[in-house]
Symmetry: C2
Subunit: 163 residues, 2 copies
């Protein structure tokens, strides 16, 4: 049994009580959240988001360098006016080292991924600052409020980073 088939079953319950048919496409709270794909993070829950509120972009680490395409679309086509960057404690990206990980992938899959930047993280304060600054400096990104946080997987709290 695949997880996909379990998803189909679980989805039936969501459909049974679904009452969000008339939400507009643009995010109601005009915000773009950039965070990590980590399984322990449920941004809707820990930020108090409901369907229709926010763009929630997630990748490994919550790295901004890979989010530019999506953020440009969010701002230019769907009217968001604020960005919130959220990295988190105990992130897998803290455990991976670029060169070593490329070797692992090569060993396990036979593929040369030396052209891929895995955007690993050494320090969370720095990674949040780096990503906020990257967005602030990119001329294709609007001059909007951009804030940075670290989500603590041990407490569920988002702690602000001065950026």
């Amino acid at each position: 049994m695949t997880v996909a088939s379990e998803f189909e079953v679980a989805n039936q319950q969501y459909v049974a009580t679904f009452d969000k048919a008339d939400l507009p496409m643009p995010p109601g709270r005009k915000v773009f959240v950039l965070t990590c794909m980590d399984a322990r993070l449920d941004p809707a829950k820990f930020l108090g988001l409901e369907e229709g509120h926010a763009h929630v972009y997630r990748n490994a680490g919550g790295r901004a360098a890979e989010a530019l395409r999506s953020l440009i679309i969010s701002q230019q086509a769907l009217g968001t006016e604020e960005v919130v960057v959220i990295h988190h404690t105990d992130c897998g990206m803290l455990l991976i080292h670029e060169e070593e990980f490329r070797n692992t992938v090569k060993k396990n899959t036979g593929e040369d991924v030396s052209h891929v930047a895995f955007l690993t993280i050494q320090d969370l304060q720095k990674s949040v600052k780096t990503d906020v600054e990257l967005l602030r400096k990119n001329a294709a990104i609007k001059d909007v409020p951009i804030s940075g946080y670290i989500f603590d997987v041990k407490t569920g709290k988002i702690n602000k980073v001065n950026v």
Copy 2:
């Protein structure tokens, strides 16, 4: 008042009842969900996911071409063994046309983004198939079950695509 400051207030409620301090880093259900950042989608809710269950990767459109780095990390460092690709009806990517959108960005920001592929979508059945095939054919991606769905924003239902 920024949305970020509203998030800080909402987050206090999450922290007050937080009981997920001991979840391991690898996703318990060993699945990688690839879907869109659209505000109307709450994948945890419509798939029955709880904290700790799954990697949830989201970008504009839920496009696979941009998810390779994160999926390689998910599979090689955190042990996921299945991928579920979910695009959705009324996606903003259906309204954007590459060339026209590049011109809009140039006009609004002054920036030349002619090097950016915005990964727009013309047909949802095709985009899901394209993305599932892209992952199946990429040698750096493990040979695991990969399924495709279209989430219907009018009903909350995930409809399977034969891929």
